[in-house]
Amino acid sequence: MTTVAFLDFVRGPLFQIAVAIFFAGLFIRFVEILVLGRKTDFSEPRQSGTGAGFKTVFSRSVPEAGTFKRSAFTIIAGYVFHIGLFVALVFLAPHIALVRDTTGLSWPNLPTPVVDFATVAAIGALVAILVNRMRDKVLRFLTGFEDYVAWTATFLPLLTGYMAFHHLLLRYELMLALHILSVELLLVVFPFTKLMHTFTLFLSRWYTGSAFGRKGVQS
């Protein structure tokens, strides 16, 4: 198989398969969570939980002073990684071109140096997080196989994407094919690992916030 044929394969049939698994997985998990529901709370609510639920979705993004002091590294590295990934994913011109091609929606892209900075920062943060995890006895003990899979599946698209855009190491068509392949791996493992938190986090934060709100306590 030539490199170009490989690129066609990952852009063609393989991408369709990955997208199918991703969406099917996403909906299985989401619908099941919603169908299962929670036990009905029979206690009389002190106030409606809805507002508190929405508030918590956002307020929990800001670390509390005590927590920040105890694990400043994890929080800062986590922020750098998440913002970097978001910028690279959402504001790189070829990614917007993909969304526009699929859905018709588009928005302005950021200049390449800005996206580059975000990407390199995200890659650096991911490496730092992994090193920290390996060095800390407790963290290492708590880390399972799935965590390493999630880390790798997130790291590879960032690395190959950066190298493809800048034509590093391999010929562009091969690096682009590897980038798309790594994204397909991410799409496939996404619904079945902790990576699902990208979506479920809003659900669980809202639930916690609204439960606390009903009781009239701070969330």
Partner: protein, 364 residues
Amino acid sequence: MPAHETLGEMLAARGISRRAFLKYTSWLATLMALPPGMAPAMAEELAKAKRQSVIWLSFQECTGCTESITRSFSPTLEDLIFNFISLDYHHTLQAASGEAAEHAREAAMAENKGKYVVVVDGSVPVKDGGIYSTIAGISNLQMLEETVADSLAVIAVGTCAAYGGIPHANPNPTGAVAISELVKGKPVINIPGCPPIPEAMTGTIAYLLSFGKLPDLDTLGRPLAFFGESIHDRCYRRPFYERGLFAKDFDDEGARSGWCLFEVGCKGPITYNACATLKWNGGVSFPIQSGHGCLGCSEPDFWDKGGFYRPLSTPLRDITPTAAVAAGIGAAAGLAAGALHRAIKKDAAKNHHTVTVDNLEKSS
């Protein structure tokens, strides 16, 4: 022109000075990334070169390749070298027709056995015994096999000959294949492009005549001198790509400002050819310079890459139907799983027996 005449004699007869010829070989050596010292040696060898017998076979093609090569910006030295070649058989260019034409091919094959070069443009249909394209009652497949048997080397000119090209495009009704798939045991040089750049063609022939061997080829059989770098690598719009400035449309501000055409489907990053450096029509322009993205015509299956105007970062086919169906199946499976687990939970609650201390004592 007598058959024994050398290229040097022919050029002298046409009033080309040695100085002009050296300039040409220097240009050619530079073009093909050969050491500068090679230019005089090339001039020497080329001047001594005898007329090379060439049999040009045209199969499933559109004659665009011949048009390109015969219309290289004349009069140039490439033209003269092209004239110098003893083109013993060529449908479009030869005066003879019918049986006389076929005789010319057979005569050239017999006279120059083992020494003639076969140039092929067009792909060969192999489906149903190759009946979809015949010349003088002979199928393309049969003619290729016959002609190539005693040749020195084969040059596949144009994307159809190099990779199957347009006839090979999905659904490929004639079973068209590339020349390299049919020719075994002979060196095959691919000079793809739709059409190929004339200089890539003449440069490769000049190299063959000067050094008597094949130039360095890449994995797809293309001379590295012309196909070693991508269009994108040498594109004058590359700085816009680096800065993230892209035309979104052929009529927007970005297009008018000459920004990168990646988002309107330019295939320059995955296309290896010399358009961005040699350009066309005597160095006047090339597609990207005239505002259109590269189609990727010198790459295999360039017709089947999901559309010329879709960016490289998009999937080849629309993913929304797949996503919708998958989401539907996923939702149904989620409902089923949810219902099943609810039922299990309900069942467990119903069958739950309270364990007392007495029970525990009994069992132990």
